[in-house]
Amino acid sequence: MTQLLLFNVTNGLIIGAFYVLMAIGLSLILNLSNVINFAHGSFLVVGGYIAYTFEPYLGFWGALIVSPFLTAIIGLAVEKILISRVYSRDPLYSLLLTFGLAFIFEDGTRSIWGANGKPFTVPAFLSQPLSNEFFFITGYRLFMVAVVTIAVALLFVLLRFTRAGIRIRAGTLDLETVSAVGINVRALRSLNFAVGIFLAGLSGVLAGGQLGLEPTMGAGLLMPSFVAIIVGGVGSLAGTLVGGLLIGVASGITAVFFPAASEAVIYVLMALVLLVRPRGLFGEEGMLT
């Protein structure tokens, strides 16, 4: 029984780590620019497919490194051309815009790469299980957790110690003052968006290795990211981190007792948090918008 529980908790943490990667990118964009990026799942898919396209030429590792950057560039283009036009308007419009973009991307990936799933090959040594006893922890899953940990750590370093990062954090708290001090808010938003999309692209590569690639996979991974942000508290990256891990673990544990409900439990968790602490675990008081 404990063995089973351990299995599921560990599994849950691994799943949670993945959710964290997706959700943090989403959270970054939400916090600074007040935009709910419905197309985040689409960028994940694009990231995966780009990696798939480049793998024959660059190998797995090359694709892993190149794809997030390319995806971020696409994201940057989208931000500059489309999304930046609606920042000053009611959040309704950015929602509708990213919503429409999600449609366009989904159909777009379908026409470029076909509607059928594509396999994404991962280096053989990674697919080996760790040991007979821990058969469920394949090397690839550990690798995923490692990548996520590195990415999140790098992000926190970026936000804490670089000038751009500090400005992003300041902008999250008070964009007006940041702008009044003479900092180029447009450029800041673009950079922030690109970083968020980079993370989405990275998630796509990792997801591809684990699940294979298909055009519709983005949407299914988007909702848990939303819930992670709500549970962790809007406005707090640390909260998103905790939220993602929490829902992953909750999902894992539920799989022991009620396998069918393991997906539903994240919503139950969300409802609980909303009842007991509406601002989320780490959310700030008075986050009225």
């Binding site: 489309l82 419009y93 509708l96 815009l97 429409g100 366009i104 997906e263 539903a264 409802a271």
Partner: protein
Amino acid sequence: MKEPPKQGIDRGLVVLAAIWAALLLAPAWMPLIGGYTALGTRVLVLGLAAMSLNFLLGFTGVLSFGHAAWFGLGAYGCGLILKYVALSTPLSVLAGTLLGGVMGGLLGALIVRRRGVYFAMVTIAFGQVFYYIAFQWSSLTGGDDGLRPFYRQPLHLWFATVDILNNTTSFYYFVLVCFALAVAAMAFILRSPFGRTMVAIRENERRARFLGIPIELHIWIAFTLSCFFVAYAGTLYALVNNFADPRGLHYSQSGDFVMMAVMGGMRSFWGPLLGAVVFVVLQDYVSSITINWQIYIGIMFVVVVLFFPRGILGAIRRRAAA
């Protein structure tokens, strides 16, 4: 809500009469332009849903991106009654409306303290909860295949029995009557002190608060009312299709409703109906000529947001004022 000058009153009444004339005579003129009555029925129902959402979005200024949840609950409630409980159209409509409205009211209470994107996010998540339940609880809901079979039942009025199952024209008029009832209720509420308070909250929440208006309570009431209306539309939708499925609960359905309201014009009462007409017609047309219709819907979203944020009626008003 406005007290328009003399000229305006006359113009408003004329427009209203024209709208109702068009609606009443639809089965006559629709086939002439390549339409068909059943399409009109569908547009009415979706238009009602969009107007219900706009009650909240356009008039109170609160964005819910999860209204499909209550719409779908209305549909499932209606279908479940017809399938398992009683062969009665009125009862199933009532049940579906109550189911969607009450759930909306309960869950809405959890989130009224939040506003803006946070509120929208949570409504999306709520919607997905119900989507997920409908999908998974297949023993009750039929899962991915949807809830079927059930059929709309003839209406036993005191002077006649109306066959709304087989006679599409009779059914259209039935839906039109239901539509009229809902629309009348909405208009009535919007003209009342409560309706004016809703507009006040939209116009300037801070000022409303400092006039002693309890904002959260009002938003919750407006939210709940709009959930009841949209659930009612959902029951009608189930009757249109003789079928209820999870896709009706998905956030993309919510997105469609929002788009209809925006496209038609959020600040006007009839705007969302116009938006529904355009949206449904476009969607039908595009999906019949290409398999990649999603891309075109997506492009439409982008174009409307960037170039027609005030919708068709908004653009017309701009022209008229200029």
